[in-house]
């Protein structure tokens, strides 16, 4: 056997192991969603059933959680995309001496455990809303949106920053010379240039919000989202309904991620010089 063949066999074996590790547990869980026993069981496979899926749709609090997760996801997109955009633009203009400190500040939420962001958001806003008399603001939706946006804005900012690195300021000067106002330059030159990044940031923000648990579980107070309902269910006991839900979520996120990645790959191909 030649050395190249040994190398190829080992590589193939390693790739098989890695992707087996990645997908094996998900596949096993997927199988339990279609098996009849009431305790999630993949093997022996007794009989095919879709009952666990129907049970899911009849589960009211799960449906409420799903709806709330969706609304909060949209709110988080609406908050963190503009914040990330502003953060990135300021980064390109801020004085070099302050830049390091500013960078440290706006990126620190990415390196802070989610539970801590949730805890500090709740503690801070509880008192602020109490003193300002705006107690009606102290709701799970408001706090969860703020808490999640704290670090999701940082993700958005990093996406905008990488796109801004390729921004050519000569375009701006050309427009100014032709008599455009500063606001027009922002609206008609900078924003269109950043459009792919706005799209990426919005998708990433929504997905990050939708699957977040650590920050949400503190900030959501008495309300519920899909992840907090799910956590309660999983802790209460094992049922194949959860596997069924997992199958649905995997299908949705997988197709979403696929569409997003394909769109990005296409864009990259279009952008690359032929």
């Amino acid at each position: 056997m030649s050395a190249a063949l040994v190398y190829r066999t080992m590589l193939g074996f390693y790739l098989l192991l890695f992707f087996g590790f990645l997908f094996g547990p998900l596949a096993v869980m997927g199988v339990t969603a279609f098996n009849t026993p009431a305790y999630p069981q993949a093997w022996p496979f007794e009989a095919f059933t879709l009952d666990w899926f129907w049970k899911l749709f009849a589960d009211e609090s799960l449906m409420i959680g799903l709806e709330n997760s969706f609304i909060i996801g949209l709110l988080v997109v609406a908050v963190s995309v503009p914040l990330g955009l502003a953060g990135a633009i300021v980064m390109t203009q801020v004085y070099a001496r302050v830049r390091g400190l500013y960078y440290l500040l706006v990126v620190s939420p990415v390196l802070t455990p989610g539970v801590i962001i949730g805890i500090s958001t709740v503690i801070f806003w509880k008192d602020v809303t109490a003193w300002t008399g705006a107690k009606s603001l102290f709701t799970g939706f408001f706090l969860t949106t703020l808490g999640q946006s704290t670090f999701i804005s940082s993700y958005c900012m990093l996406i905008f920053l990488s796109r801004l690195q390729r921004y050519d300021r000569a375009q701006e000067e050309a427009a100014l010379d032709l008599g455009a106002s500063r606001t027009q330059v922002f609206l008609h030159i900078l924003l269109p240039f950043l459009r792919p990044a706005v799209f990426s940031a919005a998708v990433i923000a929504f997905l990050s919000s939708f699957e977040n648990y650590n920050t949400t579980t503190f900030a959501i107070l008495a309300d519920k989202t899909l992840t907090t309902v799910l956590a309660g269910r999983v802790r209460a006991g094992m049922t194949p309904s959860i596997s069924a839900l997992a199958v649905l979520i995997i299908l949705v996120t997988a197709s979403g991620a696929l569409i997003y990645e394909i769109a990005r790959a296409k864009e990259r191909r279009a952008a690359a010089p032929a």
Binding site: P25, G87, Q93, Y95, L111, P113, I250
Partner: protein
């Protein structure tokens, strides 16, 4: 802390800070003289400049800085009913930290072994899981970044992205299905006649450590891939032509080049592991020790919020210490890690 005093601090603090920055900016401009950029408002136009200042101001002050400072201050206060807050009993105290160390607000004769042990196990296990994840990811990251053909890279990357977005709770659930006493692994082992009685993987924390490794493996993968990808292939070729063995190529060329990526991956995996809540809740046995669920219990079982804040701060300090150690060991700057 009296309420009025803190309220002023919250609303005047930002104002003072913004004015301070404006003064500093004006000072810088004067020093730079004619070569200076036009000022912020002139450069962006009033509407856009206002939007930028408001957005960044709200984000940095109201969402990042003030909540953290407030939590720190809160953790140095005793637990009081709402009516007594701001009253004579509302003093700064170390009672919450004393509880973490000694398991009692005032008796310091013996250590709070449960919490201290959990903290130590959490840190140690997180470090080990970080190292294991690096070992699992490095070969694939290298293969994708330097060896594989572009078409294969695109396809494998798609395969990696999909599990990346699956919820942490569902991943933990999948591992519970695998490792439970009636789970697949026990079923297989019994079916193969290797064991008679099911093994309690969950009680032994095997499921937890495996689940955590699984949950964050891709967090390590992407930074590592990006860092190795930027290495010029000719360098590896040159080393090989000069007769370097494969392990020296990795130890002396690829890994030093990938240092920022390794640091990023390690920092993120450690932080996510040490701050993991879903995995220990789902995969933890009755005797499992993990620090985050203890923090959670301070709030929702013990209803002692200041103590919870103190515990959260201890976790935060541990994570910051890890970042600093990584920066030291890998000799990278903060902006190289957080990219």
């Amino acid at each position: 802390m009296s309420n009025a005093y803190t309220a002023y601090a919250i609303f005047l603090g930002p104002l003072v800070l913004v004015l301070g920055i404006a003064f500093a900016a004006a000072f810088e401009r004067r020093r730079a003289g004619a070569a200076a950029e036009p000022n912020f408002f002139a450069r962006n136009g009033a509407p856009v400049a206002t939007f930028l200042i408001l957005a960044v101001g709200v984000w940095v002050l109201m969402m990042i800085v003030l909540p953290q400072f407030y939590m720190i201050d809160f953790s140095f206060h005793p637990k009081l009913p709402l009516a007594q807050r701001g009253g004579p009993n509302d003093i700064h105290t170390l009672v919450n930290y004393r509880y973490f160390l000694f398991g009692s607000p005032d008796d310091t004769s013996h250590w709070n072994t449960t919490h201290l042990h959990a903290f130590w196990i959490t840190i140690l296990a997180s470090v080990i899981i970080t190292i294991v994840n690096f070992a699992i990811c490095y070969p694939l990251a290298y293969y994708l970044a330097q060896v594989a053909r572009p078409k294969i890279v695109t396809r494998l990357m798609l395969l990696l992205v999909v599990p990346y977005w699956i919820n942490e709770i569902l991943r933990a659930f999948a591992f519970r299905v695998l490792f439970g006493t009636g789970g697949v692994i026990n079923g297989m082992l019994i079916g193969l006649n290797l064991i008679r009685e099911p093994i309690d993987f969950i009680g032994a924390d095997v499921a937890l450590y495996a689940g955590l490794t699984y949950a964050y493996v891709l967090i390590m993968m992407f930074p590592l891939y990006n860092a190795i990808e930027s290495l010029d292939r000719n360098q590896v070729e040159a080393a090989r032509d000069l007769g370097a063995p494969w392990w020296r190529i990795h130890a002396e060329i690829v890994m030093p080049h990938a240092k920022p990526g390794i640091a990023t991956g390690a920092t993120l995996v450690f932080m996510l592991c040490a701050g993991a809540l879903a995995a220990p809740l789902v995969l933890g046995g009755p005797k499992t020790l993990w620090f985050t669920p203890i923090v959670y219990d301070r709030f929702f079982e013990a209803f002692n919020w200041p103590q919870g804040a103190a515990y959260a701060l201890i976790l935060l300090v541990a994570c910051m210490a890890f970042v600093l150690i990584v920066m030291r060991v890998f000799k990278v700057t903060f902006s190289e890690i957080a990219r």
